[in-house]
Structures are given as C-alpha cells and as structure tokens.
Amino acid sequence: MEPVIETFESRKKHMCVKGEGLSIPVCDKASLPGTVTQRTCVFGGARIVLMPITDSIHLVHGPIGCAACTWDIRGSKSSREELYKKGCSTDLQEKDIVFGGEKKLFETVLELYNIYKPGAIFVYATCVSGVIGDDIKAVCKKSEDLTGCRVIPVQSEGFQDHNKTKGHWIGGDALLDYVIGTKEPEETTPFDINIVGEFNVAGDLWGIKPLLEEMGVNIISTISGDSHADEIAQAHRAKLNIVQCQKSSNYVARKMEKKYGIPFIKVNFFGLEQTTNSLREIADFFGDEEMIDRTEKIIERELMGVEDETQEYRERLEGKTVALYVGGNKAWSLVRAFEEVGMDVMMSGTKNGIKEDYERIKETVRDGTIIVDDANSTELARLLKKYKPNLLISGAKEKYISLKLGIPFCDFNHDRISAFAGFKGFVSFAKEVDASVSSPVFNLASKTLSKVSKTPKVGGDENAS
C-alpha cells in the first residue's frame, strides 16, 4: 500500500486511511528524537487542565523557563478572579539545584499566600525539581498546615512520559486527591451536576451554562473552566458528571464514578445536532418530565434562527474540505459541526492520541479520511501540500506552516477568538470558519511578480472576483 506521505519508515504506520486495513494508526509512542515534535511535556498537560481554576495561584517549581513560556496562555476566560493568569515561579538557581529547592519553595508559597490569599495554591513539579528529588508533597503539607490555605502538589515532572495525556491525568489526580470531597455543599438538589473537561476557552462555558440552568439542572462545579477551588471541593455531591473534553477528562469522570458512584455521560456542545443530543441525554438521564419538556422548548427556540443566521456562511463553505490536527478531543467532536456547515473532513489527527481516541475518530469520520498520529512539522507540511485541504484546524504552532502554504487556518486551541459551544456558538463557529476559508487574500496566489503576466490566477475560489 502506498504510504500516506513520504517520511521515516517507522513513522509511516502512524498514518492511515479509514476503510483501508486497520483504520487505526500506530499511536502513543515516543516522538523520534531530532524531529520538530508538536507535542509538549507532562508538566504542560497538567498545567492546562488546572490553569483555568481562576481563584488559585499556579506556582511552577522549577527554573524560570517553565513558567516564563506557559503563563497566561490558556485562553480560558474568567467571570470573577484573574489570579490564575499570574505567572508564578520559584525561579530555581544553581545553588538550589545543588542544595535542594524545598526551602525556597516553602518561602515562596508563604509569600504568595500572604500577597494574594488565594482559594488554593497549586505547586507544579518540573523536570529538575523531580531529578533533584524535592519532596513537594511534604512542603505543600507543611505550608497548608501553617496557612490554612489549600496547597496542592501536582507531580508533573515534564520527562515522565512522551505523552502529555499523562499530564492531564496527573492534574486530575491532584483534584481527586486534594480537592474533590473536601467540602460539603450547603444545599443539594436532585439535579446536581458537574461539567467536567470544559475549560471555558474563549468563553465556551457561557454558551452552555445558561441552557443547562434553564433546563433546571444545578451546576455544582465546572472542572475546571471559570471555577473556584471551593466549588470543585463540593463536586463529589453531584448526581451526574457530563464530560465535554473526553481526551483529558474521562479519567477524572471514571475515577469519580468509582470513588463516589457518580455516573457520567459524554457530551459534545460543538455543532447543532451534538448540542441537541447532549441536552436531551442530560434530561433523559434525570427522567423528569418537566425537565424533558423544558429542554425540548429550549432546543426548538434556539434552533429557530440559527439556520437563517448561518445560511450565508454555509453557501460559501459548501463542499470545502477541512483537515483537523488537534490535541485530541476536537479530532472527533468537531467533525459533525463541520458537516453541518457543509464541509468535508478529509483528515483528522492528534498530537497525543491514545488508542481509545483513535477508536473515536474512526467511528466518527467517513471512509477515505486520512487519520494521523503525532505528525511533526515536516510531516504536517507534506500532508497539507499533498492533500491541499481548504482549511486547517490546529493550534498556534501549526498556524504559519499552513498559512505559508496558502492554506486558510483557524485556531481552535488556546488562541481562539470566539466561543463555539452551544447554539449561539455554532453561529460564531460558522462565521469564523467562513472568515478564513472565504478570505480573498488566499486567492492572490501568484507568488512572483514576473509570473503574473503569464499565468492566470490559480487556486482561486470561483466566487471570488
């Protein structure tokens, strides 16, 4: 069989086409040393699932670089505190590496507590704090006893694994071990839920929350978008967990099911059909007739108008192709939404997918779709050049690879500019996709002036004038 693209022999099996043979690429392997990997480290994985807790200080115990390149990058919005945006570090120096950094960590925690009186202080281990053997658990315990503030160790040494998914789990463990179940809610209702794996990027949560509240469910906590540590502490009293990012957060939901008997359902608020199904599933779970009625009315009301509002975009997007190369969850959760605006998902891939993620992708995409695991920058460029999608959905690091090839791009990661979740989010989604795919700048394709007179416009959109 012809390989999807030319690359290292060992990497060829990381790409496949659905319908041919196995349909699941080799995955969850260490990136080849010497390639420009698009992956990050375990620390990064833990930091992004916890960083949206807004009333907390996120303290990186390591040399300055680990904090300096990762503070305030989540694109996660807050309706209350801004503390989570601060870039805090113990700034380990050579003498700390030699003599240990525990004392410095302890003093730093106390200082930050005194300055900010935060809801919690999360202390992240890094490569070096791990190698020198700092006992951050002990320091956290000691400073928590002294201050009465939650001081939570996150054992996220960067080198632990090739896959940042492990970081997501470690972040989840920090919540499970030190936060969830440490406070009782003042009141409970029969309809208490947690929204798990929703990080409020660009304000996504705010497209969902009002719908859920109108249905009549009571949201105890969001893990972790726009949340307070104190709210997550009460999460164990929920009757149901709904999981949006199933890449990062199935882990937490499964563990909560085991520990507290809270069932969970997987939801997806990207796209109309998915949003509708998700709301119905939640209402069906509670089985309350009034809630089911209310939910149907909400769906009917919200769907009205969306068609009109998106028609112009759909006309321009019809038949265009899109390639997804994302962290994990969006590789399947966005597929239907793109189909709803008339686009064809021709490639879907992730940087950190594990087998269950690729099962999901395989179930979701049509036959003939290219499925890609951990493509490095060279491979991504080759994929784009060979298969020429009309749009790439990916993150900041991939953006200019795509644009330099003249392929429109949308950032669906931390740097997204509008909320896409829920019904109203779908309109923004269609609008933003259209703004990239239909922009005339991509039709000015003649790249040298000397060729302009000889060659007519190439690669142009037939609607473009």
Partner: protein, 470 residues
Amino acid sequence: MHHDKKFAVVNPSKMCQPMGAVQALLGVKNTMPLIHGSQGCSTYMRFQLIRHFREPIEVASTSMNEKTVIYGGEFNLMKALKNITEKQSPDMIVVTSSCLTETIGDDMAGIIEKFKDANLDNELPVIIPVSTPSYVESHVEGYNRTIKALVEHLATPSVPNGKINIITGNISPADCKQVKDLLYQLNCDSIILTDTSENLDAPLTEETLSLYNEGTSIEEIEDTANSLGTISLSKHVDSAAIFLEKKFGVKSISGPLPLGFENTDQFVTSVCELGDLEIPESVEKDRGRLLDAMVDAHSYNFHRKVAIFGDPDFVSGMTRFTSELGMIPSVVCTGTESERFTEDVKLISKEKGINPVILAGGDLFDMHQAIKKAGADILIGNAYGASTAKEENIPLLRVGFPIFDRLGAQRISVLGYKGSIEFVDKITNTLLDFYYDEAGYEIVDEKTEEILREEGDEGFEEDFMSKEEI
C-alpha cells in the same frame, strides 16, 4: 497594599538560557537548533517565538523521557543527530542543553565525538554543543554563550577581510535591517552575528518551511577572526568579541545599543574609527532628521514619566533615549540580574539628572509596585506589560519580546537614526492618542484636577497661616 517579596517570581521578565540560544540561532543559515531535554522545552519556546514572529520556527528536541533520564541522554542525542543529519541535511546542528540534561550530567561534547567516530564514512554537518543550564542567569546569557560557542568552534585566521563583526543581541529583524542599512550607508563591510532580518520576516512562500537559506553562514563565522574589530551592540553578549580579541587580536567594542541620538552617534563613531571611514552626507541627513523629529515632538514628551522593561541593554538604551526626549524615566526594570546594567543606568541618571527606580533581576510584579509609587504616564515593553498598563490606566508602547497581542512585532524598529525616528513618532502619537483630544488639546482628567485643587488649597492654607503668624 505592599508585601515583602523575596523569593517568589510573579510575572517573569526573563526567560531561560536555551531560549536565548534559540534566538541567536534563528539568524544562522541552514542550521538546526537542537534542545537536549524534554520535548516541552522546544515546544513552548517555539510557541513563544511563533506567536511573536508569526513565522514557522523549527527547533528540534531530543525528546527525553523517564527511561532516558535514568540511563542518561546518550541514546536520544545520538539518535537525534542521526535523524536530523539524514532528513534535514543542515550545514550545522547546534545542541543546547537544558536544566534536565545539565542536572543529570550528560557530556554533550563527548557524545558528539562518539557520534562523529561512528560516522567516519558519512558526510556530517558541523555539530557544536553549547552549555545553557536554565537555572543560571537568563536568556540573555544563553544568547551570549551561543555566539561565543559558534565563534570558538569556527573562527579561523586567514587573510584580513577589512570587515567589522557586529554581534546584535536579541533585536527585531527590522532592527537588524536598520543596522545593516546604516553600515551599508557608511560603506562598511560587515559580518552580522546573527542576521535574522530575512529569516524572521519572510515573504509568503513555502520555502520558509525548510531550514533558513538566508542568515549568517558558517564561512562568515569562520571569517570573524580576520575582521578589523567586533562591535557588540549589547554589552551583555560580548563574550565572543572578547574571545576574538584575546585569541586573534580583533578589537572588541562593547555597546551601547544604537538606540536614540547619542548612542547612535557613538555607534557610528566606533564603526568609522575601526574601519577608517568617512561619514557620508546621507547619514548626516538621517541624523538631522532624527533631531528634527525630536524637536517637533518635544512639547508632548517633556517631563512625561516613563516606565521601561525588557532586556538589559534595551532598557538602558531606552532610558537614555527617553531622557534625550525630555521624558523622565521613573521605573526601569530588567529581569536579568546585572551589575553592568545598574551601573549603566546610574551613569545615565547622573548625566541626565533623573532618578529612576532601578530593578535588575526584577519581575513585573516588582515593576508594577514601583510604578504605583513612582508614577508613569506610559509604559514601554513587551506584551506582558498589558495588564499593568491597563490597571494603571496608561498606554503600553509595545517593543521587545514577546509581542503576541499585536501584529507586526518583527517590523518594530528602534535602532539607528531611522529606527529612532520611527520610535519618536510612535511614542509621541501614542501620548497624543491617550492624553489629547481630537482637536489636539490636552485632556484634563477631572479627578486629577480635583486632587490638584485640593493640594492647591492646602498650599493656600499654609501660606495663609504663615502670613497670620507674621
């Protein structure tokens, strides 16, 4: 509310050494930077660089993991060198260490030798190791060590070339171009260490997706031993120049960054002395245009308080330039601990009659506290200053790295007479936008006026009382 803060860093104003190394290597032709460490290091640094320059940036990683940490990084480093050599065929691979591989004690030079021995039959790129432990100093030192390593490994004496070496330090591609243009005007042949002007502000072509085919070449770096002299625009990155002076007698001049009127004069003087060159009419004219711009703008800038943060030589240069404009630097902050910086600013302060709060090794929290006390009408620095500026209700003039919330960071220019002219216009227009109305009148803030009046009243009372006493 003020709190003592001795240990915590809150909102850093520096990055780690490997970042400086990568910044230096982005101006070298057909070269792959390779970070020997966890994959997060290269990925997060690329993330910062990409969102600043809005260009694809290639930095390879040895992708260390738990097993290789326990047994040492030799296997991964060897494998990485092999993969890069085979797939990218670069002229050079520069391997920089990280906190992880420094701590576990990997002998990079030894591993590289081993790799070379194992590949005696193959044509290999030049491979240079640089020790850049992330827990020592800052990105500025990483930049410094990298240029020094390049020169140490490559500089080879042959015949005098009549050129001047310029070590730029971490400046924008546009500023690199300004410096090159100025040297061209002066008729000065030069070797730029390193030349980012084309690589980091590239046209829309897919060629930018491979390793750079522009920038400083290996041959040029070899030739640095034969130059008339080396000028390090930033004093903090002059180790390579000092090396060249000691080993090959190539005269070294450290700084200042040609930012503003006096510093650019000094740079031009240094170049002309080293190269025995005449100052051409066109340079005199640009100099005159800068003076003209400064005079045109003087009344808007006079006694405006300014806070400045960024890399040490940028901050000291900007302290002098804003003083030349009649502004009052009130807080000057660099994340890098440096006595040289403090001395420089003290000297400028004495000369200009200013008394700024000097923060060397400070973070943006410290800077914000200092601004609250000392006051500032405008803040100059990178995008991380935005929240401070917003809280203090002052404009942020974005210069430096990183700038990810505005477009065109690669085209911001402040160096040489021409870059300085751009800066004068920009800072003055920013003040006009913020403090003046559409008709050009200064907006008088009601609250401020009230305070002034109250203060005035108290003053009157005192006067009155003293008169009564009489």
